[in-house]
Every structure is written in C-alpha cells, then in structure tokens.
C-alpha cells in the first residue's frame, strides 16, 4: 500500500511538474493598444515558426521550444514587468519589440546574462559587441536603413544625388530621430539637401508637414513613422499628389496596413527592408500543413506572407538557428541563456542554409562575431502594388555605408561604455 502511494505521488509529481527541458523563448508582444495592428502579425509569425519546429522537427535538437508570450501593449513599463516576470522561466533570448523597452532592458539583461535580439530597432550602437555583450541587432539597424535609402537613391541617379532635395518626415520621438545623424553625415558626403519635418505623436494630423512638402517640392521624401502616422503620411502624400515612387519608408512604415487605407493612390510607395516579403517560400507550405491545418496557428492563419508576419517568422528562424549553434558549441541540447548568447555570437546565416530551411533569399547572408553583433547591414527595397495588394522586393540585399555607420556606432557605443563603466571585450 505504501509503495503504491509513493508511486502514485511520484507519478503525479512528474505529471504536474514543469517540462524541465523546454527551450523558452519569451515574446514581449503587443496584441492590444495603439500599435496592435503591427504587433499581432509579428507575434503570429514568431509563434508559428516555433510551432512548426516542434511539430515538424520535434523541437530544436530534440528539445521542444516554448514561446512565453507577455502582453506589453507597446508600453515600456509593462515591457519591463514582462521581462521580470518571464526571465525566471529559463528565458533564452528576448525580443523586446520596442525601442523604449530595449533601452530599459539593456542593463538588466546584461546583468542577468540573458541575450536580447533587437533586429531593425532598439539601440543602434548595440551592433558593437565589444561594448554590448548581450545585445544583438543583426541583420540590420536603423542607421543601415537610412544609409540603404541613400544608396538606393544613388543607384537610381547613376551615383549622383548632389543638389537633390530629400525631406525626412519623422515621428518626433527617440525612434524617429534615429536616422537624422546618419542622413546628415550622408548629405555632407553626397551633397544632397536634407530637410527635417517632425510629426508629433500619434501622427493623426500632418497637414502642416505635407503643405510644406508641397511648397518645397523635395525630390524624395523618407518617412520614419509608426502606427497611424504611416497611414496618414501615405494618404497625405497621395492627397498632394507626391509621386509615390519617390516616397520611401523605413521598414516600420512598410507593411500592408500602412498602405491599404489609401487605396490605389498608394501604388508605387516603397519601403526599405532587411528580409523578404510575400508567401512564395517552400517553408510556408510546411506552415500550412503542420501549423495552420492542424489548428495550431497563433492567429487565423491568414497573415502568412504579410510583411510583419514574415518579420516575426524570420526573427524566430534566427533564434532557432542560434539555439542550434549553441547546442553545437556546448554539446548539450538543453542550453541556457549564456549558451544561447554564445550561439548568437557565432551565428552564420548562408544562402545554402536558408534554402535548406525552405526560405531561399528570405534575408541577407551574414555572420555575427564577438566584435560585430549587427552583421554587415545589408538591406533591400520593396514596393507596393495596389492592384495585387502585395509588396515585392525590387532589389537585392545591398551593402550600406560601413564607413559612415561604423564611425557613428563607435562614437555612440564609446559614450555608452564610458557612461556605464564598461570595459571593452573581444580583445
């Protein structure tokens, strides 16, 4: 009787206990609030990739992955609370999904030894791995985005944009101001005229800025917006009949929901990107079979191929590949956050690997190192077709101005190192 009871108790304990071997990937999502339209597809893509890996491959190196979602509403305080409440679950890597949250978490995550991946947002100078040991922003950062736009314009104008007028319409926040310094440096280098047009949060009212654009007649307008600012910006550009092919957004201003409200008038609008768009990739057939058809999709399954879904999907793929690398380096399947960091620092994404994963040319080829946590900063250009309601890549992933960006990264990271009393590593 005693043995039976002990056996029962042990069995119950085993069943009730946590799944010790799960690899935990927190997702600080924002499915509610003013930016939910952007947060939902990203998190759906992020979740669906891990579900695919679990269902199709049996997990990462045989260990199941578990996404722990915590709702931030894109609010910095809630983001920090989410970090604190989920890190104890054995979090391997954080996707803060907000520049504000990223800034708050950099010292915390570094102290806790947990890596963060902030691709296309966050603190740009975190690309300097010598200073930011636990922050990674591969494959591209804001300054790569700004440089990518200028390089694209150089290509469009046979290498000469001297005397051209470029207006930057930006969200009047730390995020929106990110490209200014880079664009100023590049305007000195290439001789184009830069005008700055800040838009106050949330960006519902932009009449003054677009009247000024109508008066000044810049050759190109670059938009660094988010949320409603994007939809209104595209609509106002259409209203003043600004040529859409000369209107370029950053990757946070280039999703379907940014252009659909303006209808046919948004046709030709462009956006810089660091990953591919559309659903024409073999991996999405697997998602359909192993995730959507099984009723396991994070959303309704209708977002596959959309810009932000693909971004979340891509982020998850990079996390999985880094975890595999960590398992390879340390020779164990059940990795911890420190091992994950090592995996991220040794990550190498090649065309062969992406093809093998059913994602050929989904992103640029790149490798990460102790010194360089940002990759080579390759970016491409996408364009909106209002008829088919699709974004498509109109360029490959091209290099950005490493000289200008490298100097800015070094300057900003050095000031952070001095401020936080950080000794450089990788020596």
């Amino acid at each position: 009787m005693k043995l039976k009871l002990t056996t029962l108790a042990l069995g119950a304990l085993m069943m009730a206990g946590p799944a010790m071997a799960d690899l935990v990937f927190p997702d600080l999502s924002y499915r509610t609030g003013p930016y939910a339209a952007g947060g939902i597809p990203f998190s759906d893509g992020y979740n669906d990739y891990f579900t695919l890996i679990n269902e199709r491959d049996g997990g990462i190196g045989g260990v199941k992955a578990r996404v722990v979602e915590c709702e931030t509403g894109y609010n910095t305080e809630k983001g920090v609370e989410c970090y604190e409440s989920t890190k104890g679950e054995g979090a391997l890597v954080y996707q803060p999904l907000s520049t504000g949250i990223t800034y708050q978490l950099i010292p915390k995550a570094t102290a806790d030894g947990i890596p963060m991946h902030t691709m296309g947002y966050g603190r740009t100078s975190a690309a300097n791995g010598k200073v930011f040991s636990n922050v990674f922003n591969y494959p591209a950062n804001y300054w790569d985005g700004a440089s990518g736009v200028v390089n694209y314009l150089l290509e469009e104008n046979a290498g000469d944009i001297k005397g051209k007028k470029l207006a930057l319409v930006y969200h009047n926040s730390a995020y929106g101001k990110e490209p200014i310094r880079t664009l100023e440096e590049l305007s000195k280098k290439h001789g184009f005229e830069l005008s700055l047009l800040p838009v106050d949060h949330p960006g519902q009212e932009q009449k003054s800025q677009w009247l000024q654009i109508r008066r000044d007649r810049p050759d190109y307008v670059v938009m660094w917006g988010w949320g409603v600012m994007n939809q209104v910006g595209v609509q106002e550009a259409a209203n003043i009949r600004f040529p859409m092919e000369n209107f370029i957004g950053v990757w946070w201003s280039g999703a379907e929901h940014d252009v659909i409200p303006a209808g046919a008038k948004a046709d030709g609008y462009k956006a810089i990107t660091f990953h591919n768009v559309g659903r024409d990739f073999p991996v999405f057939d697997d998602v359909q079979t192993y995730v959507v058809d099984k009723g396991l999709a994070a959303g309704a399954g209708d977002q596959i191929g959309n810009v932000l879904y693909n971004r979340g999907f891509y982020a998850a793929m990079l996390a999985v590949e880094a975890a595999k690398k960590a398992q390879e380096i340390h020779g164990v399947a059940d990795i911890d956050a420190g091992m994950m960091r090592d995996g991220m620092e040794a990550l190498e994404i090649t065309q062969e690997l992406m093809t093998e994963l059913g994602m050929p040319s989904f992103g640029p080829s790149f490798s990460v190192s102790c010194e360089n946590h940002g990759g080579p900063g390759l970016v491409g250009m996408t364009q909106w077709d209002a008829d088919t309601q699709t974004w498509s890549m109109i360029s490959g992933f091209n290099p950005t101005d490493v000289d200008v960006i490298g100097a800015l990264v070094a300057e900003d990271s050095a000031s952070y190192a001095a401020e936080a009393n950080i000794e450089e590593r990788c020596n």
């Binding site: 499915r31 509610t32 609030g33 003013p34 930016y35 939910a36 339209a37 939902i40 009047n172 700055l196 047009l197 800040p198 838009v199 106050d200 949060h201 949330p202 960006g203 519902q204 009212e205 009449k207 003054s208 800025q209 009247l211 000024q212 109508r214 008066r215 949320g227 409603v228 939809q231 209104v232 609509q235 259409a238 209203n239 003043i240 009949r241 929901h257 659909i260 409200p261 209808g263 008038k265 009723g295 309704a300």
Partner: protein, 328 residues
Amino acid sequence: MSDQLIFAMEVTLNGLMAGVLYALVALGFVLIYKASGIFNYAQGVMALFAAMTLVGIMNGQVPFSHLINAMFGGHTTHFGWTVPSLVAILMTVGVMVVLAWLVQVLVMKHLVGQEPIILFMATIGLAYFLEGVADLMWGSEIKTLDVGLPQGINLWIDETTFGIFGYGFFIDNLDIVATVIAALLVTGLVLFSQYTKQGRAMRAVADDHQAALSVGISLNFIWVLVWSVAGFVALVAGIMWGTKSGVQFSLSLIALKALPVLMLGGFTSIPGAIVGGLIIGVGEKLFEFLIGPMVGGATENWFAYVLALIFLVFRPQGLFGEKIIERV
C-alpha cells in the same frame, strides 16, 4: 503679393478646415457636459467604437468572431454580405443609442448625486472598457473606411487660386465635406434644442436637474438622449477621421485635439466648440508655419494648449462658457 503671404493664406485656410475637424470631436464633450455636468473622458473612444462598428456592419463582419471561434472552434468571421453605407450608418446610430441606454442604466443611473470627479472617473473606466470591447468585437487590425466621401486636392480651388496668385492652394475635399457636415450638425443641434420638446427638456435639465424633475421631465430619458446625440456626433467624427487614417485604435486619441478647443471655447457652448476649434486650428497651423522652422518644428500639439491656456488666464470659463457666479 509675397510668396510667404500667399503660403500663409493657404495655411490659414487649412487651419480653418482642421479646426472644424477638432470642433467635431469637441461637440460631443460639450453636449454631455452641458446636459449632465460630466466631462466624458470616453468621447474619443466612442468615436473609435462608432467607426469600428460602422466598418464592421458595412463589411458584414461577425461581432466577437474571435471570441466565438475560440470558444466553439469555428472559423467564421464574416456573414458573407456587405451593407450599403447609408444603411450601415443608420444601424450604427442604433448601436450608439443602445450603448447610450446601457451607459445610463448600468453606470450613470447609479451615480446620480455623486461628486463630478466620481462621474469623471466612471467615464475613464468606460473609456477603457469600450476600448477593450471594441477590440474584442471587431478585431484590432486597421480597417479601411469608405462611405463615398471624396478625398484629395480640390482642383477647382487649386486652379482658381493659381489664376489669382500664381500658386494653387491645397484644400482637401474631405475637409470641405467635413466643414459642410459640421455646419449642418451644429444647425441641426441648435434647431433641436430650441424648437423640439425633447430639446427644450434637455436644456431644462442642463439648467437645473431638480426643477426639471419637478415639472415631470424624465432625467433618465434626457440623459439617454444626450448620450445618444453625443454618440451620433462621435460617429460623425469617427467617419471623418477614420476616412483619412483608416479606422484604428489611434482614433481614440483625437480627444486630445478636442481638449484645447474645450478650454478655449468653454465646456458648455456649442458655438464655443466651433469657434474654439477654428481658433486652435488656425493658431497651431500658422505658428507651425511661421515659428516652427525656427524651433525645430512639431509645435502643433503643445502650441494648441499654450493658446488655450492664454485664453484661460483672461476668461477661465472659456470664450463662450457660462460665467459661474457664486453668491454668498
């Protein structure tokens, strides 16, 4: 005529148009405050809720479909039909009336006689509740709203001003429509409050609740009526702003644009909301045009409040607000 002056004229005209849009939002606040002394924090969210409901009805969306599908395992999100704009607008008005009744029966009725701050706090709760319900009911994706309103540059004004000044003014067709609708709305509200039995009862309640009750006016009915009218005004504001930016969560933030208008025009005056809106619209646009470039731009949000504060210093009750005389 100098280019700068011509540009300033264009900016002024656009400021007037923007002011009308601000006034549309402010009107909803005024109506409720005038009749019940409640500062309705939820007015912006009501605009969002109304616009989301309108798009949902037009597109034949199943309300609460995500919730229903999650509970019962289905995949139905749409009924498979679409509803013409006008019919959908009428149906949305019906929904806003039901909402007004629910607000009255479930919330306000139980708070009669409470301090204004309690009533204000109740509307804050209502705002967050409505935000959540709207998301749950219709989803949080951005929705395109097209009720057939024209958008884009008005070519006649462009060509005419070009003929006169050698520079074509930009005026958005949507702003012109908004101006006409706002004029009709204000005329309608004034006629309603002056010449109908319910309108007079509404004014009586606004003047003195006790006296109105003593002559047999139903406070419940009047407050439902007032919240319904405010819901209708919210729908109009939601259509105008939603047509421009798509219907999305940020619509609820348009209330921020109404606050300086209310401070300036007074919380109890319908003409005050209109005039306040126009002053704020023109003031912020001209300031941005003339001073903005010198201080790095993005002055509109804070300047509207500065302008309102300046007026407050000299007329605390606002331009058209009722002066409060406390007798000892």
